[in-house]
């Protein structure tokens, strides 16, 4: 769970969002807007401070602007990349690899994890293998994948798939094992067949923990993709960052980093929204 906390977005309870819904009910629209702004500021001021520092520090000469150009220069460089089409090419290359590796992992590994979690025999057989493989850092295997699969798309998608597989597998197995036995008992007394028990009791009961795995997997997808694009690629944001660094196109390099952050944030928001919908029944978490 630690890595979830540090992986970017905090797990904010979605309570503060739909202020605009009250817009029609409240007397003055301005107060609603003001309150929304105040809320937004309260949540974002630290990020804003950081971004301002990024702009001010190089401008004021506190930091050598050759190594850390001001934010405005970075954004201008990004605009240039967007205009000449490089940004589009690199972003689509990265997105394609990341999303396909991630999606294949979700589709293949979650069912596998469900089966391993459900059938003790299968779990026993797979346990050691899983322990060994999951402790082999995906990045350490990068040279192996390149050796076997070349430096084309297959190697990168496989890398992403491989790195997503472990958090997905482990969390799904744990999710199934943690299902309250009483709920299974309860389903059985109502005559549920094993299949019904699985789809109507175990799966919904396990879904919150499976989602934890999905989010961890998405974080490691970004990480591993960037690393593997830095090592051997002709396109992609990881490639762009390392290429710009070699060519001393420092603002472009920083823009590449920002783009990756943006992709990570977007992915996380999307998954959070899906998760929020799927597990709306849960009691709100947090220390109230």
């Amino acid at each position: 769970m630690d890595s979830l906390e540090t992986s970017g977005l905090p797990l904010i309870p979605r309570r503060s969002r739909p202020l605009s819904r009250y817009a029609g009910l409240k007397p003055g629209t301005t107060t609603v807007l003001q309150r929304w702004l105040a809320g937004w500021l309260r949540r974002s001021w630290l990020v804003l401070v950081l971004l301002s520092l990024w702009e001010i520090a190089p401008q004021a000469g506190w930091i050598d602007s050759t190594f850390l150009p001001p934010l405005s220069d970075v954004l201008a460089a990004g605009w240039g990349l967007a205009l000449n089409g490089q940004l589009y090419d690199n972003v689509t290359a990265s997105l394609f690899r990341m999303l396909s590796g991630f999606a294949i992992a979700v589709v293949l590994i979650i069912p596998l994890g469900l089966a391993i979690g459900r059938y003790a025999r299968l779990g026993e057989a797979c346990n050691q293998l899983i322990e060994v493989l999951r402790n082999t850092a995906p990045l350490a295997l990068l040279p192996v994948f390149i050796l076997l699969l070349g430096i084309g798309e297959v190697a990168k998608v496989t890398m992403v798939f491989y790195s997503c597989a472990w958090p997905l597998l482990l969390n799904t197995i744990a999710a199934v094992k943690q299902v309250d036995p009483l709920l299974i008992k309860s389903g059985r007394t109502m005559g549920a067949t094993p299949v019904q028990l699985f789809t109507r009791v175990i799966l919904p009961a396990a879904s919150p923990t499976i989602f934890v795995g999905i989010r961890l997997a998405s974080a490691s997808a970004v990480l591993v993709l960037v690393a593997s694009e830095m090592v051997g690629a002709k396109a992609g944001l990881g490639y762009m960052i390392i290429y710009d660094q070699y060519s001393f196109l420092i603002p472009q390099m920083y823009f590449g980093i920002l783009a990756i952050t943006a992709i990570g944030l977007l992915l996380n928001y999307t998954l959070e929204a899906i998760e929020g919908r799927a597990t709306r029944w849960k009691a709100p978490q947090g220390n109230v």
């Binding site: 999710a175 943690q178 299902v179 309250d180 009483l182 709920l183 008992k185 309860s186 389903g187 059985r188 007394t189 109502m190 005559g191 549920a192 067949t193 019904q196 109507r200 009791v201 919904p204 009961a205 879904s207 919150p208 923990t209 597990t279 029944w281 849960k282 009691a283």
Partner: protein, 285 residues
């Protein structure tokens, strides 16, 4: 014998337990030599001290676990597993947290592949029966303990089982709601001729509801005396409790239980191999 709806014959249930974290495993007898016949359409209440094996017995009757030895017959045939001819109301509610009250009640009907429209209609009916119509779309975590218990009762009634197995279903309710539901349960029982086995800690409740009260003793859990309750006490009306007969029976059962409770309490710290988990609410990961 063959006229019994449910028949327990020398049923014994052992659990494997460890006294220390990784100490040696040993067998713990939760239920020993339980023998009992329940007539079709009978309302039997079961009282006994905490930890005497009441819930264990109910699990066996529900077909959720198998006896270590002995036999459990339902309509003369051995129980081989759970089925919709028996409805179980668990001590810890066991509602599905991802389903609303209404959806929880409809679960059994869904499993039975009842049409959606009929399902909802029936579920609404039973929700109304337990007085929760206004809470149809609430999730379990938005309901009070007593409300959850009522949803659980409605859920097991909804698919119309022959036999109702109820594990302290009214324990979490206030006195007034409890009495209302007691009367309601008696009404349902009379109207539907279900066979009901009802576990309770309350001697009053056992006498008011049961045609017979079976008294269990602890360590090992056994079914001791079975006390007949005259019909006039099961009327569900209020003044039953003030009848001298009620007081006499109450006292009789209390005396039967007392010695055993004393024994249990004095042993419980030293001998209880598994801490009492039964009172806690299930923890949802």
């Amino acid at each position: 014998m063959s006229t019994a709806k449910i028949s327990l014959r020398q049923v014994r249930k052992e659990f494997v337990v460890r006294d220390e974290g990784n100490g040696p495993a040993r067998r713990f007898v939760a239920l020993d030599d339980a023998t009992l016949d329940v007539r079709p359409g009978e309302f039997l209440t079961l009282v006994g001290p905490s930890g005497c094996g009441k819930s264990t017995l109910l699990d066996l009757l529900g077909g959720l676990t198998m006896p270590t030895s002995g036999q459990i017959l339902l309509d003369g045939r051995p129980v081989t597993g759970p089925a919709r001819d028996r409805g179980v109301v668990f001590q810890q509610y066991a509602l599905f947290p991802w389903r609303t009250a209404l959806q929880n009640i409809a679960f059994g009907l869904e499993i039975a592949r009842v049409r959606a429209s009929e399902r909802t209609e029936k579920a609404r009916h039973y929700l109304e029966l337990v007085g929760l119509s206004a809470f149809a779309n609430r999730y379990p975590h938005e309901l009070s303990g007593g409300m959850k218990q009522r949803v659980a009762i409605a859920r097991s009634l909804a698919y119309d089982p022959d036999v109702l197995l109820m594990d302290e279903p009214f324990a979490a309710l206030d006195a007034q709601t409890r009495e209302t539901l007691q009367i309601e349960l008696l009404r349902i029982w009379r109207a539907t001729a279900k066979t009901i086995i009802f576990i309770t800690h309350g001697i009053d409740e056992a006498v008011v509801l049961g045609q017979r009260v079976a008294i269990m003793t602890a360590r090992p859990g056994r079914i001791g005396r079975v006390v007949d309750i005259p019909e006039e006490l099961n009327s569900g009306s209020d003044d039953v409790r003030s009848l001298p007969l009620f007081g006499r029976l109450r006292h009789e059962i209390w005396t039967l239980l007392r010695e055993d409770v004393w024994e249990t309490q004095n042993q419980s710290v030293a001998a209880d191999p598994v801490p009492d988990r039964s009172r806690k609410e299930p923890v949802h990961g």
